[in-house]
Amino acid sequence: MEIGDPQRIYTIEPIEDPVPHPVPSEPDEAPWEASPEPVERPLAAP
């Protein structure tokens, strides 16, 4: 490619990656389960 004479040189470090990355697929949502009811225990006698 003919791009003419050099003019200047510099460095570029992009903040955002110019390479697109695939969006990770969301894992299947686990069905919601109610937490078990706390079991009431009688207080032990002192």
Binding site: M1, E2, I3, G4, D5, P6, Q7, R8, I9, Y10, T11, I12, E13, P14, I15, P18, V19, P20, H21, P22
Partner: protein, 171 residues
Amino acid sequence: MTTAPDFVDPVVGWRMWYALEDSETRHLSSIVHKTAWPQRAPLVAACRKIRFSFRPRKRRRHDAPAEDCTCGIYAAGVSMLRAYLPAHISWLEHPPVLGQVSLWGTVCEHEHGWRATYAYPKRLYVPVAGIGARRASLILDDLQAYGVPVSPLESATVDDVLEELTALTSA
């Protein structure tokens, strides 16, 4: 010791590739060195120039692009694409792909373009006139693997293609 970069936004230039057919799929290939452009990873420049010199220092390999060499990944302004396109797009040996490319790393700026260390396509345009609907569809589909927008160009002549590109990118 590390040094701060001069800029944080990639340079965006234009270039041309071939859509090379490789068994089942099609991928971007540089037109001069036939380098396959990776998908979802930047292309990294390497100097391929062989220097014959009796002075070892002159023979030493260098990082690309070097200021006093011609190595690096090239891109230019849209008007420079004309030099690589025949009057009719269908005269080319392989289907061409035109597009914008992001360049970063060390960048050598020239009068009409740039040479850089890293490159990745930003947007791709496939001239589809004369390559057949099925082949065009396969190319358009396979280039989606780069994860950037891929659009067909309907024009058949170089003048019309460049006009269409200019209109699309200035819209």
